[in-house]
Amino acid sequence: MASTGWAGQRGGRVRSDCWVQVELQESGGVTVELQSKVAGMFGDRIVEAVVQGCASLGVTNAKVTVEDKGALPFTIAARLETAVRRSGHEVAAPLLLPMNKKDASVSAPDRLRRSRLYLPGNEPKFYVNAGLHYPDGIILDLEDSVAPAEKDAARCLVRNALRAVDFYGAERMVRINQGSQGIEDLDWVVPHGVHLILIPKVEEPAQVVEVDRRIQEILAKSGQSGVVHLMPIIESALGAWQAYEIGKASPKVVGLAIGLEDYTADIGAQRTLAGTESFWARAQVLNGARAAGVQPIDTVFSDVTDMVGLRESVREAKGLGFVGKGCIHPRQINEVHEAFAPDEAEIDKATRIVLAFEQAEAKGLGVVSLGSKMIDAPVVKRAVALVEQAILVGKLSEQWRDELSGDMPGARRGGKMNEKGGV
């Protein structure tokens, strides 16, 4: 019987994490040996948290060693719980932190998803400040960024982060693992305030259905209402081929994302900067998503130092019809938002279309025209959406009608500048 378990990170370069070892004992109660760079300032509280944590987990006799590098309480709790579980002890109850009440953000099927910031699931140091960069969504990743031996530790940490960390209004997303491991991941995140699940390597609609069904079971069991949205990631030829069916697999699907690293490997091509090898797949996913009525989301841009390249890449994606891009570094977020934002010419045209439409409506005219051109209904709809987005990102004043009808050339920029996208 294993009676010792450990979890977390140790060593000189580690920060905002800790290493916890639990040695189960026959008697003697819980003793804690602490080494911490904040010992003088938080030592008592760390020891107390460990002792109370052990009690909640049902550990009555153990020698606990903690090497702390300034870990926050949600991390210490996660490392302790994982170490206890790894020791072979069956926990009495999971060590749950109270839900953070400040981050009461809710999700919506059609909310902005221009940027999604990936955070490695087992690395706590990035968590608490991620939301300060105001991405539309934050992805706590249980899949590729987590080593196979650390999946259990990452689940526990991600669960605690979902409960305790304020993401400042970003949509809380989790990328689960593939297959049955991914289904098990759901137990750790669904009852704890996740907004959206990214399902990797989706090739068949049935994969989406299975995830959706399991989510409903968990929600029902925990007596929670609310919706957990789904975003399948297409990363293979077969997935791309079936993009539309995957997008329609469940009403919970709100977007289809494409992942190109695996896709290019799957079709036997090299990934190039120009991206001709993946053009078909991107167009296919885009059309599949639009046909299914969900958001088409583009892949990540992986060179974090190349801001010019990023901007071009987002412009190209926007030009194709994508509405979102993955981010692997917080500095990419603003660039992505700015590149997705409507430009001056677009806003100018859209506001004139909306005005023409409203005037035509007021006059009871069935046909909208701008200058000598007839305007179709879908064009009006698109212009309305664009105007709304321009207001949201601060590129257009909410009072633009007054300012424009007063023939003020400076109607734009009148809005309160908000680079954060208004959320």
């Binding site: 920060r15 905002s16 760079k37 904040v38 003088g40 300032m41 938080f42 030592g43 008592d44 509280r45 948290a49 590098k69 300034g70 870990a71 926050l72 309480p73 608490v128 400040n129 300060l132 960069h133 304020d166 570094h329 917080p330 500095r331 601060g394 309160k416 500048m417 908000n418 680079e419 954060k420």
Partner: protein, 517 residues
């Protein structure tokens, strides 16, 4: 145990430092000393070699010639930063001579000076008056130094020399290039460091001045930063320092997204506060966040074709680029942090070397610091009343010198861009561990969680009303950070023993550092 009195900031401070009476801090601008500055000994040119050759073979011989004896004060300077060999060589020679109880009066100390601990252990050095970092800081806060340390700002060091608070017996100036007469410069030579401004007061006021160089040139050394007419002896040694360590370790742009966010918010604040306009001035030191701030500012200036009248260094390659690109008329430089700064100072007449006298001195007829439109400074802690700490860590250990920090608080807008917490330790606190800067002089705190404007600056609050920047009361930021960190940090366990006095820019005692139990 030292007798303590409560000063105007409410801090208990010693009434005497190493047996000399000390004046408690009375408030910003409240202490007005009178009388005359100290005079120096009358010299006669006849006592010096008429051929101008003042060379002496060794530092040891030079110290003997200078009349070194027990209890004297020796000053050195930190132009060579962590690559300095000269201070160590001076005290090694003093130890060989069997001298005891010296006071070391450096303009700053670095980890390379850890060997001074041995000199304190064996009695050669009695105590240090200057910055103390790393091992020296730990030695001091452990209460092991015999005398009380005194920490002063760069301007305060000049003040202490001028009003006689500190009398320097022997000043030893590391000179990257010098002639036999003693004219010296820092802007050239194999160990070039830029400028020698921190040694200016010492060269003028010390009883005896020794220039030490590894690059002797025939008279005249032109241009000179230190005048040979103030120098008694010139010593040539193989190397005065490790050139590779002269460059500051903190001149890399930060890659941390959170620090970049802080730098960007700082630049945007300056913009919205109306600071960034033609003819403005600013000072931002080395350190990742300050450098990144300068870059964000540069981009802003480029885009809007705005030109500064002057920027104050510590200069780096980034400030030099701005000068060469025409984004500023001048760099008024207090110290060069990299070799590009050294080159620019040598080659560009717009890159001007300054000293603590021009920039910071309290006993001057004004100084440059108060003319700056904005300065960007670091801090280890700030409290809810905007009081700031720059010398100790929250655990009570000394870890930084004051440098020009206190002097810069006089600027028109003092901004502290700092993370809201470090390693679970909140930076925004109820009360700072050590008070170095009075809150009334700190205008703005920029953290990644929001910008707090000092309520005393109603003009700034009004100007920023309706801004999209995250302007928040400082108490709100503090509460949020404590929520994240699991409460405020426990205060360090300190004894009543005072180990260091912290001087305000006018020479009064603003706070003190206590021994850690």
């Amino acid at each position: 145990m030292a007798k303590l009195v409560k000063n105007a900031a409410g801090r208990m401070v010693p009434v005497a430092i190493n047996e000399n009476a000390a004046t408690p801090y009375a408030g910003v601008g409240k202490y007005v000393p009178t009388g005359r500055k100290v005079g120096t000994l009358i010299r006669s040119a006849a006592d010096y070699p008429s051929d101008g050759d003042k060379r002496t073979e060794t530092i040891k011989q030079a110290l003997i010639n200078a009349g070194l004896k027990d209890g004297m004060t020796i000053s050195t300077h930190h132009h060579l930063r962590n690559g300095d060999y000269v201070a160590n060589a001076v005290f090694a020679a003093a130890a060989e001579l069997g001298v005891k109880d010296l006071r070391w009066f450096p303009s700053a100390s670095f980890p390379c000076h850890a060997g001074m601990i041995e000199h304190m252990e064996n009695g050669v050095i009695h105590h240090i008056e200057g910055s103390m970092n790393g091992p020296l800081g730990d030695y001091c806060t452990a209460g092991k130094m015999r005398g009380m340390a005194v920490l002063r700002s760069h301007g305060g060091r000049y003040q202490a020399v001028q009003d006689g608070e500190v009398h320097i017996d022997i000043a030893v100036i590391a000179a990257p290039t010098a002639d036999p007469f003693g004219n010296a410069t820092g802007d050239r030579g194999p160990t070039a460091c830029g400028l020698l401004g921190f040694a200016l007061a010492d060269s003028e006021y010390a009883d005896h001045v020794i220039a030490v160089t590894d690059n002797l040139v025939p008279f005249p050394c032109v241009p000179w930063q230190i005048q040979g007419n103030n120098v008694d002896q010139v010593v040539v040694m193989d190397s005065i320092g490790d050139a590779s360590k002269i460059i500051s370790g903190t001149t890399q742009i930060t890659k941390s997204p959170d620090r970049l966010l802080i730098a960007e918010l700082t630049a945007r604040f300056c913009d919205e506060a109306g600071i960034v306009q033609n003819g403005f001035s600013f000072q931002a030191g080395a350190g990742g966040t300050a450098l990144s701030f300068a870059l964000f500012l540069r981009d802003m200036m480029r885009e809007r074709k705005i030109k500064a009248r002057f920027v104050r260094g510590g200069s780096t390659q980034y400030l030099v680029d701005m000068l060469e690109e025409g984004l500023t008329d001048y760099i008024l430089d207090g110290q060069t942090f990299d070799l590009e700064g050294v080159r620019s100072m040598r080659e560009n007449s717009g890159h001007v070397n300054t000293s603590p006298f021009t920039s910071y001195n309290w006993h001057g007829k004004g100084n440059f610091a108060s003319m700056l439109d904005a300065v960007v400074l670091g801090a280890t802690e700030v409290d809810v009343n905007f009081n700031a700490n720059v010398v100790t860590h929250s655990d009570g250990r000394l870890l930084h010198g004051i440098g020009g920090w206190q002097n810069c608080l006089a600027s028109k807008c003092t901004i502290l861009p700092i993370p809201s917490f470090r390693d679970r330790i909140p930076v925004v606190v109820d009360s700072v561990t050590t008070l170095c800067g009075p809150g009334e002089l700190v205008d703005v705190i920029v953290t990644e969680r929001g910008i707090a404007i000092n309520p005393l600056r109603r003009d700034l609050l009004e100007r920023l009303q309706g801004s999209s920047l995250p302007i928040r009361p400082i108490g709100e930021i503090k509460a949020e950070v404590e929520d994240i960190c699991g409460g405020a940090a426990a205060k360090p366990d300190l004894s009543d023993e005072v180990v260091a006095a912290i001087k305000w820019v006018d020479g009064t005692v603003i706070d003190c550092v206590r021994q850690i139990r």
